[in-house]
C-alpha cells in the first residue's frame, strides 16, 4: 500500500486533504457529519464524475487531447433526447437516446481531431459553442419538462444512503475504466500513445482509431450524465452542462492525470471529484460566500500541482 501511494503521490495528497477537510468540518461544525450529507455529496458528484471520466480518457490518450465540449454535449443530449420523447419516441428509450446522441456528438469531435487533424483544443472549443448554442437555440432557453415519472425514483433514490445514479452508473463505469486501462491491451495502448505517440505508431498501435473511440467514449459518458440530469431534475435544462468543461478539467488535473497524457489513472479522478464536491458542500454548510469557493478551488489546484511537481522532480 505504502509503495503504491509513493508511486502516485497525488492519490496520497488527495486522501490526506480529504481527511483534513472532514476533520476540519468535524471540529467546526460537527452537526454536518451525517449520512444525509454523504448522500448529498455523492448525488452532486454523479454528473461531474461521469463527465470527468470521459475527460480523463481523452487527456490520458495524449496528442494534446482535451474535450472542451463535454458540457455542451450534456446540455444538447438532454435537450434533444427530451424533445424526441415529446415528439413521440417511446419513453423507455430515453436513456438510449441520451447515450446515442452523446456518442454521436463525441465521435464528431473524434473525426475533427483524427481525420481533419484539427488541434483538439480548437476543435472541441468550436463544438462546445455549436453544442451549447444549439441547445439554447432549440429550446429558446426554456427548460423542457415532462421526463417520464418512471425515471425520477432512480434519479432521486438512494440505497443505503448511496444515490442510485452514483451506485449503479458512475461507480461501475469507473471500475470498468480502471480495469480496462490497467488490465487490457487496448487500455495500455491508450497510455502508451499518450506517453509517446511516435513510438506507439511505430509499434503498430492504431493510434487514430483508438483516439476516435476515446472521443466517442467521452461523448458517451456525457450522454450518461445527461440522462442522470434528466432523471434527477425531472426536466431538460438547455444550460445544464454549464461550467462542466472547466470543473471536469479541474477534477482530472487534480486527480493526477498529466495534461500531456500518458500519466495518471481514473482512481485519482474519482477521488478528486469527491474532494471537490465535499469541499463545496463543506463551504456551503459553513455559510461561506460562494464567491470565495471559486477562489479556494483554484488555490487547491495550484497547491496540488505544485506538490506534484516537487515530488516528481525529487524522484
Amino acid at each position: 500500500m505504502t509503495a503504491r501511494l509513493r508511486q502516485s503521490p497525488t492519490l496520497a495528497i488527495l486522501a490526506g486533504l480529504w481527511v483534513l477537510l472532514v476533520a476540519g468540518i468535524a471540529l467546526l461544525s460537527p452537526g454536518i457529519l451525517t449520512a444525509s450529507t454523504l448522500t448529498t455529496i455523492l448525488q452532486f458528484s454523479s454528473i461531474l464524475a461521469l463527465v470527468s471520466l470521459g475527460q480523463a480518457l481523452v487527456i490520458l490518450a495524449g496528442g494534446a487531447g482535451i474535450d472542451l465540449s463535454v458540457g455542451g454535449i450534456v446540455s444538447l443530449a438532454s435537450v434533444l433526447a427530451m424533445m424526441a420523447v415529446s415528439a413521440g419516441l417511446p419513453a423507455t428509450l430515453l436513456p438510449l437516446a441520451c447515450l446515442g446522441i452523446g456518442l454521436a456528438l463525441g465521435l464528431g469531435n473524434g473525426l475533427l481531431v483524427t481525420r481533419l487533424r484539427i488541434l483538439p483544443l480548437i476543435a472541441t472549443l468550436a463544438t462546445f459553442y455549436v453544442f451549447s448554442g444549439s441547445a439554447v437555440a432549440l429550446t429558446g432557453g426554456a427548460a423542457q419538462s415532462g421526463v417520464p415519472a418512471a425515471f425520477t425514483p432512480w434519479g432521486r433514490g438512494a440505497l443505503a444512503g448511496i444515490p442510485l445514479p452514483f451506485l449503479t452508473l458512475a461507480l461501475p463505469l469507473f471500475l470498468v475504466a480502471g480495469v480496462v486501462i490497467s488490465a487490457t491491451s487496448w487500455g495500455r495502448w491508450l497510455v502508451a500513445m499518450g506517453d509517446n505517440e511516435r513510438s506507439a505508431r511505430l509499434v503498430g498501435i492504431p493510434v487514430d482509431r483508438a483516439r476516435l473511440i476515446v472521443y466517442g467514449l467521452s461523448g458517451l459518458a456525457s450522454g450518461a450524465a445527461a440522462f442522470v440530469s434528466l432523471a434527477w431534475l425531472g426536466s431538460a435544462r438547455p444550460n445544464i452542462g454549464q461550467n462542466l468543461e472547466l470543473t471536469s478539467l479541474t477534477a482530472v488535473l487534480l486527480g493526477g492525470v498529466s495534461i500531456f497524457g500518458g500519466r495518471g489513472g481514473v482512481a485519482g479522478v474519482l477521488a478528486a471529484v469527491l474532494l471537490l464536491v465535499t469541499l463545496q458542500t463543506a463551504l456551503l454548510r459553513l455559510n461561506i460566500n460562494t464567491v470565495w469557493q471559486v477562489g479556494i478551488v483554484g488555490a487547491l489546484l495550484v497547491a496540488v500541482l505544485v506538490a506534484d511537481a516537487l515530488t516528481t522532480r525529487r524522484r
Partner: protein, 328 residues
C-alpha cells in the same frame, strides 16, 4: 514526505480561512437563495431580509450561486435542507431547481417556498410575489394620466415583440385605457428589441410623427435609457413625459433631468422583508391572512389561498423626489 505534509497543511489552512461557525439555531432560521449573487437587485432583497430578521428575531441566511447555474442553486438549497434550516425561500431559476428536494424538505419539516420567481405545481408552501402583471399595467397608465390628463396621446416602446411578460403588461395598459380613460389615445406598441439606441430612434420618430404626443412608455428595462435620451436630445423635456418599468439606478439620471416623470417597478428590499416575514410565519405555523399591513409598507400585502400567492402589494413608483432612497 515532510514537504508533502507541509503543502497539505498549507492547502488545508486555505480551506479553513474565513470559516465561520454555523448559525446558532437552525430551526429558527430563514434562508433566501437568489438566482445569483452580486447584483444590485438581489443585494436589495438581502438588505430587506436582514432588516426583517432583526425585527422578527430570526436568523437570516443569504446564499446563492455565482452564476445562474441551476445545479449550483439546487446544491445550495439541498444543503440548507440538510442543515435543517426552518424555512428556505428560493428565487427559482426554474422548477428543476427545487423539484428534486420538495419531498425531502417535507420529510425533514423544512418549509420550502418560492419568492421573486415561482415554480407553480411544485408543492411549494407559498409564493411571495413582487407584483401582478395587472397591477404593473394599470399603475403606469394611472400615473401617466395623473400627469398628462385624460385627453392625451401616449406611445409605447417595448423590447422584444415575443417577450410574454412585456406583452402582458402592454395588454393591461390597453385594458386600463379602454375601461377607465376612454379619451386617452394609446398608440400601437413599437418594438425596439434589446437595444437602447434602437429605442431612442423609435422614440425620436414617434415624437416627430405625433406633435401632440404627451408621453412615452418604455416597457422593457433596456428601452428606458433610449426613451429618456430621445426626449432629452429632442429638447422635449416638460412637454413629453417619459416613463417605463425600470430600476431607480437605470432611471435616475432621466428622472433628475426631467425627461422621465416617474418609473414603475417594485421595491426588492420590501420583497426581501416580506420573504423573511413569510418564512417566520411558516416556522411558527401561523396561517396567512387575506390582508396584512406590515410596518413600513405603503399598501397591505394580500394572500390568495387558491393560488398560494402572497402579493407584495401595489407596485412602487419612483420619482425625482424619492429615487435617491433606492439603490438597485
Amino acid at each position: 514526505m515532510l514537504r508533502q505534509l507541509k503543502l497539505t497543511l498549507f492547502a488545508a489552512t486555505l480551506l479553513a480561512t474565513g470559516a465561520l461557525p454555523a448559525s446558532a439555531d437552525p430551526a429558527n432560521t430563514v434562508a433566501f437563495v437568489p438566482q445569483l449573487i452580486g447584483i444590485p437587485y438581489f443585494n436589495a432583497m438581502e438588505e430587506g431580509g436582514k432588516k426583517a430578521a432583526a425585527d422578527l428575531g430570526v436568523e437570516f441566511i443569504y446564499s446563492g450561486p455565482v452564476d445562474t447555474n441551476p445545479v449550483d442553486q439546487l446544491q445550495i438549497v439541498q444543503n440548507l435542507i440538510d442543515q435543517g434550516v426552518g424555512a428556505v425561500s428560493v428565487s427559482v431559476l426554474d422548477a428543476s431547481t427545487i423539484a428534486p428536494v420538495v419531498e425531502q424538505a417535507k420529510a425533514k419539516g423544512v418549509k420550502l417556498f418560492t419568492s421573486d420567481s415561482d415554480a407553480p405545481d411544485s408543492g411549494r408552501a407559498v409564493y411571495v410575489a413582487q407584483a401582478t402583471d395587472q397591477g404593473l399595467g394599470y399603475a403606469i397608465i394611472d400615473e401617466m394620466v395623473e400627469r398628462v390628463g385624460e385627453e392625451a396621446t401616449v406611445a409605447i416602446v417595448s423590447g422584444e415583440a415575443t417577450a410574454s411578460n412585456l406583452n402582458a403588461w402592454i395588454g393591461f395598459m390597453q385594458e386600463r385605457a379602454k375601461d377607465k380613460y376612454p379619451k386617452l389615445t394609446l398608440l400601437e406598441p413599437q418594438y425596439a428589441g434589446g437595444a437602447a439606441d434602437r429605442a431612442a430612434q423609435i422614440a425620436t420618430d414617434l415624437m416627430a410623427a405625433n406633435p401632440d404626443l404627451k408621453g412615452i412608455i418604455g416597457v422593457a428595462s433596456t428601452t428606458c435609457p433610449g426613451v429618456g435620451q430621445a426626449i432629452e436630445t429632442a429638447g422635449k423635456i416638460g412637454s413629453v413625459i417619459g416613463t417605463g418599468y425600470c430600476s431607480p439606478n437605470t432611471a435616475r439620471s432621466y428622472l433628475k433631468s426631467g425627461s422621465f416623470g416617474y418609473s414603475v417597478l417594485w421595491d426588492p428590499a420590501k420583497l426581501g422583508y416580506l420573504t423573511v416575514w413569510a418564512g417566520k410565519q411558516l416556522i411558527d405555523g401561523k396561517p396567512f391572512e387575506a390582508s396584512v399591513q406590515l410596518p413600513g409598507f405603503d399598501s397591505p400585502t394580500t394572500y390568495d389561498p387558491a393560488t398560494g400567492i402572497l402579493l407584495l402589494g401595489e407596485p412602487a413608483v419612483f420619482t425625482a423626489d424619492n429615487v435617491d432612497q433606492f439603490d438597485f
